[in-house]
Amino acid sequence: MPQPADRLYTKEHEWVKVDGSSAVIGITDYAQSSLGDIVYVELPKPGAALEQGKPIGVVESVKAVSDIYAPVTGTVVEVNGGVEEDPASVNGDPFGNGWLVKVTLADPNQAKSLLTPAAYDDLVRSLAH
């Protein structure tokens, strides 16, 4: 499955959709599929400072605990309460309703360090073999 073209990616399977100085963060379809049935999501609180590469929360499936890493440095402005209430929505719609947090970016240029959709697609293909 091709990756949505309107966002950037990390090697840890997060996605970032940048809009000016703000961004939405989630985990990819590959990530949710690898985890299996997601039963618990723990996210930072609004106002929390995120630092690129540092863990900001967890996504748990029945058997696995997976850290979520901040793809960018910034401040949390909104948390998706929907996925905390219904963690399975991350499985169902990881790129849409299954988003995790919205942040204001400390440095909009930082996103340039992330993987393009094509580069992330290559990564996922390499992991499939």
Binding site: G36, D37, V39, S61, V62, K63, V65
Partner: protein, 368 residues
């Protein structure tokens, strides 16, 4: 993901073809899940699930004195077993800790000892060099030429009855029969590790793949799903059954694991008996308890447990429980003072303590 070094069961190709998520377990590359742990769990609780358990060690013990010899190494009675009976048992060390937990089957003129995959090499070493082994006793590790397919769930009898040449409905719980399933020679045991009715079919490795296909086809109308070790672990935890390395190990005795019913201190001397007798008399030992988390965060193996604001032990197993509506269940090893049902404990999850309540095991019991 390195796949070097792991053995493959006779059903490996089948699992790969079914798209199973595979991971190393007990020295084998095993299916963790196929369609998803929750769906597989549901199939076992409401219909029937099929497991490849060919990684488990299968030791055949024959010869005069085999029963008395096994009795000297284990906590439960062996010699009193009748033919076609199965019994849960634990091989213990001198301190009363568990070398392994096993099911011993008494079949026609032989004993089958089924050991955990991860303990198979250790158990083989232990048994094969034991100085007390009578000269007449022979040991055979038949694991490499054998397979084990488990059918577990309330519809297991309905699935198996028309396929077997013995009356499987008449096989009592923890008993076994020898016969054929779909024409395949099998030891058919009414045992399992899920808390449901079910069967374990011990067969030749060469028969595993065709039998799996036949059972898949026959089970489809009943809702049979292949189920992996992920679902199996949740099912056994709900059923309050210990998993070696978690609720039992070389340092956790069967008494600590709450398996007092299997520890026959009245039988003649066995390895670890003095230590277990002493522990039982003293009474004040750390023990495995069931926990239900009050909140939504799952407890996982290794998380610290607090009682009265002090460190008291750790989580041994933990998972959300589909049979309890998704409540988070766990086992923990805690002091006796913290082990009574309704005791409030705390579990540290990523540095934050979350309340939990001690609950009598099992978490789930099937309606019979």
């Amino acid at each position: 993901m390195s796949q070097a070094g792991e053995s493959r069961t006779a059903l490996y190709e089948t699992h790969v073809r079914l798209g199973a998520k595979m991971a190393p377990f007990g020295g084998f590359l095993m299916p963790i899940s196929y369609s998803g742990i929750l769906e597989e769990h549901k199939a076992v609780r409401t219909a029937v699930g099929m497991f490849d358990l060919s990684h488990m060690g299968q030791f055949v013990v024959t010869g005069d004195g085999a029963d008395a010899w096994l009795d000297r190494m284990t906590v439960n009675d062996v010699a009193t077993m009748r033919q076609q009976q199965a019994r849960y048992n634990i091989f213990t060390n001198e301190r009363g800790g568990a070398h392994d937990d096993t099911i011993v089957y008494r079949l026609a003129s032989r004993w089958l000892v089924v050991v955990n995959a991860g303990n198979s090499a250790k158990m083989w070493a232990l048994l094969s060099v034991d100085p007390r082994k009578p000269v007449a006793v022979s040991l055979d590790d038949r694991t490499p030429r054998s397979a084990l397919i488990a059918l577990q769930g309330p519809l297991s009898v309905r699935l198996l009855a028309p396929l077997a040449d013995v009356d499987v409905a008449a096989i009592k719980y923890y008993h076994a029969a020898e016969g054929t399933v779909c024409g395949t020679r099998a030891e058919i045991a009414r045992t399992g590790y899920t808390g449901e009715d079910g069967f374990e079919l011990f067969i030749a490795a060469a028969d595993a793949q065709p039998l799996w296909e036949r059972l898949t086809a026959a089970g489809a109308p009943l809702g049979l799903l292949p189920a992996g070790l992920g679902a199996r672990d949740v099912l056994r935890l709900e059923a309050g059954m210990p998993l070696y390395g978690h609720e039992l190990d070389e340092d956790i005795t069967p008494l600590q694991a709450g398996l007092d019913w299997a520890v026959k201190l009245g039988k003649a001397d066995f390895t670890g008996k003095p230590a277990l007798a002493q522990q039982k008399a003293a009474g004040d030992y750390h023990r495995i308890v069931g926990l239900i988390m009050d909140g939504k965060a799952p407890a996982r193996a290794g998380y610290p447990v607090y009682f009265n604001d002090k460190p008291a032990g750790d989580i041994r197993s933990g998972s959300p429980s589909p049979s309890l509506g998704g409540r988070n269940i766990a086992t923990a090893l805690v002091p006796a003072a913290a082990s009574s049902p309704s005791t409030k404990l705390e579990v540290a999850i990523r540095g934050v303590r979350h309340p939990a309540t001690v609950t009598a095991l099992p978490f789930y019991k099937r309606k019979t």
